[in-house]
Amino acid sequence: MNGLTKIFNKGTADEKCAINELSLQIKSGDFITVIGSNGAGKTTLLNLISGTYFPDKGAIFIDGNDVTRIPEYKRASYIGRIFQDPLRGTAASMSIEENLAMAEKRGQKRGLKWGVTKAKRERYRDILSVLELGLEDRLKDPAGLLSGGQRQTLTLLMVTLSIPKLLLLDEHTAALDPKTAHKVLLLSNQMVEENNLTAIMVTHNMQQAIEYGNRMIMLHEGQVRFDVSGEKKKNLTVEMLVKSFGDVLNDETLLTATKAD
């Protein structure tokens, strides 16, 4: 893998400029956490990367390929994404094994081959048993019967079935209760490390942003306000962040900062 390069320059004609002339280079294997207050452009950034919207200016490259105008469904072969809402990552009326089988085919052509074969089912059972959630015995249950935490964990597992070049985590633990959130977060981290994934994680929680990943960026008004990686990031504390950037961070983010202590 050549390493990912992404250059953003978006200046909307609209009043609201969600992402403003933002440039960012992401190296292969980077695990970047993104913080910033509401409206700083965190989710917009992910939407641009995944192709949900197209930028008004600028370009996006993955592995040197220009993907700026490539629709979302075609970018799927590069990018895996987990949303904040656990319900968005799985098809509720379809069984656990069907959801897994669909994820395994991410970005590939889907023909008239049988969706869930015996061999696949056995494999899914093995993979699911590692989670110790008892899901391995519920392969045929619709995903809609699972709890939010279980569904988010399943979504996470679905990503690993077909390793993407880039994984986007969009506050994917924010809607879960603290205990489940912690579990899902640990699992995500483990997954990213084991598979040497390149990942971007958006979070409201400063403690998380510092604890996980090898690089952290802070967005403010659509621009990168702060970019820190390696040793410098390891030595960072929530207090330091609050002291330096308290003015640009809104209440919600500060709130999580105090909670995390």
Binding site: S50, Y73, R88, A91, M94, E98, M102, R110, G115
Partner: protein, 298 residues
């Protein structure tokens, strides 16, 4: 009891014949969550195409194949209005349905075509010395059940699962690399192909095609689906398609019984409409019990 036995053959014949409409509606409403109203136009479209070609001297099977293709195109057109031109799904269906009324008149050249004196698919089943029901009912059963099984199989392939996910969680399956617009176009085409096939077969079975024969098809089909899903408590894909067939037969039986006990044929559509309203509305009136009969797409 005796009267039930007397209405059974006709209910089975018509039930199986119209179950293709119900299966088509399962694809659009249930699988794709797309409330497709093209139905009232694509049903007579199938009848019109088949009738016109049979009268022109083509073998019945040619008429049927062309009718199926025409139905596919009609559904595709509705999908095109929705996915590419961004017209609301209900309006897209109504527009194509309305356009098809003129198209059907063009195809037939007049408002109805009689087929009794022509060679249809059912002609060889007549005058064999025993009731035509003995052949017609098994024929419709094989067609309806066979296509149900084929559809079930398709919906469990990679592509079929992508289609189901398009109706269930469009954003998720798009993020997994599926062109959901394509799935909608193909699914609506498939749905209306089933419905046109039903029209083509019904026209030959009853011996005529009429430009007005499509009115109320969607409501009758929905009634059949609701009855079927209530009876077998359908949850899986296989159960939905089975419910369409069973519901279609039971619906025809209810209608036959209603007519026998004095329901005026002219009030049939009103009765069906009220049936659907009650079935959909009752759960809403019972507070707290949120839509047991909730139909996706409605």
């Amino acid at each position: 009891m005796e009267s039930v036995l007397r209405i059974l053959p006709i209910s089975l014949e018509q039930g199986f014949a119209y179950s293709l409409v119900a299966i088509g509606i399962v694809i659009s409403f249930r699988i794709l969550s797309f409330p497709d109203l093209t139905v009232d136009g694509s049903f007579p479209l199938g009848a019109a195409v088949a009738a016109r070609l049979i009268v022109a001297g083509y073998p019945p099977i040619v008429g049927i194949v062309v009718a199926v293709l025409a139905g596919f195109c009609a559904g595709y057109a509705t999908g095109f209005l929705n996915t590419r031109l961004k017209i609301n799904s209900l309006l897209a269906g109504i527009l194509i349905m309305t356009i098809l009324y003129s198209v059907n008149l063009r195809i037939m050249g007049r408002s109805n075509i009689q087929l009794l004196t022509f060679h249809t698919l059912f002609s060889p089943m007549e005058g064999l010395g025993f009731s035509r029901f003995y052949l017609v009912i098994p024929f419709f059963f094989i067609v309806a059940y066979g296509l149900k099984v084929l559809l079930d199989l398709f919906l469990h392939t990679d592509m079929g699962m992508a289609m189901r996910a398009t109706g269930d969680n469009e954003q998720m399956i798009r993020a997994l690399g599926v062109n959901t617009d394509k799935m909608t176009l193909f699914g609506l085409g498939l749905s209306n192909a089933f419905i046109s096939l039903s029209g083509a077969l019904v026209a030959q079975d009853q011996g005529f095609a009429d430009v007005g024969m499509g009115i109320g098809t969607i409501v009758a089909g929905l009634a059949a689906i609701i009855i079927g899903e209530t009876l077998i408590r359908a949850k899986s894909v296989r159960a939905f398609t089975l419910a369409a067939i069973i519901g279609s037969i039971v619906y025809k039986m209810i209608i036959s019984i209603g007519l026998r006990i004095g329901l005026a044929p002219t009030d049939l559509k009103m009765a069906t409409g009220i049936m659907v309203i009650v079935a959909l509305g009752l759960p809403a009136l019972k507070k707290g019990k949120e839509g047991k009969l909730h139909l996706r797409g409605i």
